[in-house]
Amino acid sequence: MKAAILLALGLSLTPLAAHAQDINFGALEERANLVTVSTGLEYGFVFGAGYARALSRDMVLGGDVTLGWAEADLGDFRLRAGGQARLFGRDRWHLIGGLAATVRGTRNDISQMINIGTDAVVLAGYYAPHWFVAGELGFDWALATHVTHDEDYRMAVYADARDGWYGNAGGNLRYGLQGGVSLSRYDVILRAGRLLDVSGNAPMMPIYGTLSVGARF
């Protein structure tokens, strides 16, 4: 219940709109709606779904939800809401920036965690109506994480572990490539790259890679 309240609070603080990182701006039409489903490896095996709306050919608002599919674990989730906008463009070369608010949760052997953060991304690439390729540079910042320790952790490891909000708990820089094809009203987009944590080291899962399929209507 407490987690649900935190979740609702987090969502209410964000603009109800968009982050869809998987967009071919070359195929974007004004007032288009986009729905996407995706799967892949991003801090574990995940699947997700998103919705976005193009306010213009230069700006998209939307959101997505991601779940771990290891054991259909609803305790591990991520919600993002934000937007992407074309910052600069010449012919089919574009620089795109995006910003999203993030709320995510996890329940594991030692604790339950809820995190509020932000995700910023810059994409630079060639966007044609039927295909695109772009470089991706992003930073996913864990602004504050609420930790509630599990009884097993207190029994077996540290009885006095402190529950509460932890500030500046972490973050991961990502860099990679994304590309896709757009046929009719459908997009198929691949993203892949590497991760570095805030200490400059590769995290336990040092790479990411997702495949998404989207439809525009």
Binding site: Y43, G44, F45, G68, W69, A70, E71, D73, D76, R78, R104, T106, R107, N108, D109, I110, M113, N115, G117, D140, A142, L143, A144, T145, V147, D152, Y153, M155, A156, V157, Y158, D160, A161, R162, G164, W165, Y166, G167, N168, A169, G170, G171, N172, L173, D197, V198, S199, G200, N201, P203, M204, M205
Partner: protein
């Protein structure tokens, strides 16, 4: 190194994940009330049981990067007249943390030698090494032999490897039992979004998430988890990286070690099967293997009475008797 300056980003009123005492307990460097000794420029969490003038049972915990808390049932040996020594190795448990670049196997071997000397410069001793601790004991014996006649024997429980080639095979068996789409691993990966291992406290906390239930091959009792003080992530990563990059062979001088060694193994452990323990035991001129049937890797914690009975029988066989010498 942090990419962003922490003071700028820390939110007012929030706890700091890197501060000791929040997510993980303080070490002896931060809490002077903890039992500790100082050797070779470091402060080690250590405690002993029994008569300080008695023969020493030197307990070496697993890991690297674990601690001695789950081995404390062995303190019962103090009632038999032994001086039982427990200590957390450099950089792990509640011992002081260091820059991992300053740690290597030579530092670890010198630490062990100085811990022995700290407690006595003349008493005979026997090692009880669990998992990595059994490898550590072997590395020491390979370096120092019977250490001026003082090492009377060793109980080695589930050592993983004595050479880098054996280590690669061991790790393959260990990780082969992990379900890469399973919840335990994916929980640990998912947690990478919430906390980054930017300091010892956060790194140790993350390692605990991976380590608390062990790997399936170890067959831990889920209803009787082995306790631990605090994981040591940096030293674990450092020693494993060195083993991989530099290689090792701790069998080169074992032929000169005459005391009989007991390999006391867990029967359920799939990462260290009987054939592998036989291969390791063959490096010693005199070794016996006893299997605790039905026991998992955490056999000292889960089956202390049975383990102690084997240890006592072994001490009797090799003539290692308790009481002040």
């Amino acid at each position: 190194m942090q990419i962003f300056p922490a003071p700028f980003l820390v939110l007012a009123g929030c706890l700091c994940a890197g501060d000791p005492g929040n997510l993980v307990p303080k070490t002896v460097a931060e809490d002077p009330s903890l039992p500790a000794i100082e050797v070779a420029g470091t402060r080690l969490h250590a405690e002993t049981f029994g008569n300080p003038d008695a023969p020493i049972v030197m307990v070496l915990h697993g890991g690297p990067g674990s601690d001695y808390r789950s081995l404390l049932p062995l303190r019962a040996l103090a009632d038999d007249g032994y001086h039982v020594v427990f200590w957390d190795q450099r950089g792990t448990g509640l011992s002081q943390r260091h820059d991992p670049k300053d740690i290597d196997l030579d530092v670890y071997l010198e630490d062990l030698r100085l811990v022995i000397e700290h407690y006595s410069s003349e008493q005979p001793l026997v090692f009880i090494g669990h998992s990595w601790g059994a490898m550590y004991a072997t590395a020491f014996i390979n370096q120092y032999g019977d250490y001026h006649g003082r090492i009377k024997g060793a109980i080695l429980s589930d050592p993983g490897a004595f050479t880098d080639e054996q280590l690669r095979a061991f790790i393959a068996r260990l990780t082969g039992s992990v379900d890469f789409t399973g919840e335990q691993l994916n929980d640990a990966l998912w947690a990478g979004q919430f906390l980054s291992p930017a300091d010892h406290a956060r790194a140790d906390y993350q390692l605990t998430l991976m380590a608390m239930r062990g790997t399936p091959s170890e067959h831990r009792d889920p209803n009787n988890l082995p306790p631990m003080w605090r994981a040591g992530a940096a030293v674990r990563e450092r020693l494993l990286a060195l083993a991989d990059s530099e290689g090792f062979d701790w069998t080169t001088n074992l032929a000169a070690f005459s005391p009989r060694v007991l390999f006391l193994r867990s029967g359920l452990n799939e990462a260290e099967p009987l054939e592998q323990q036989q291969e390791l035991a063959a490096s010693y001129p005199s070794a016996t293997i006893i299997t605790m049937e039905g026991a998992g890797h955490e056999m000292i914690w889960e089956r202390p009475d049975e383990y102690l009975a084997h240890a006592r029988a072994y001490f009797t066989e090799i003539g290692f008797t308790g009481g002040a010498q």
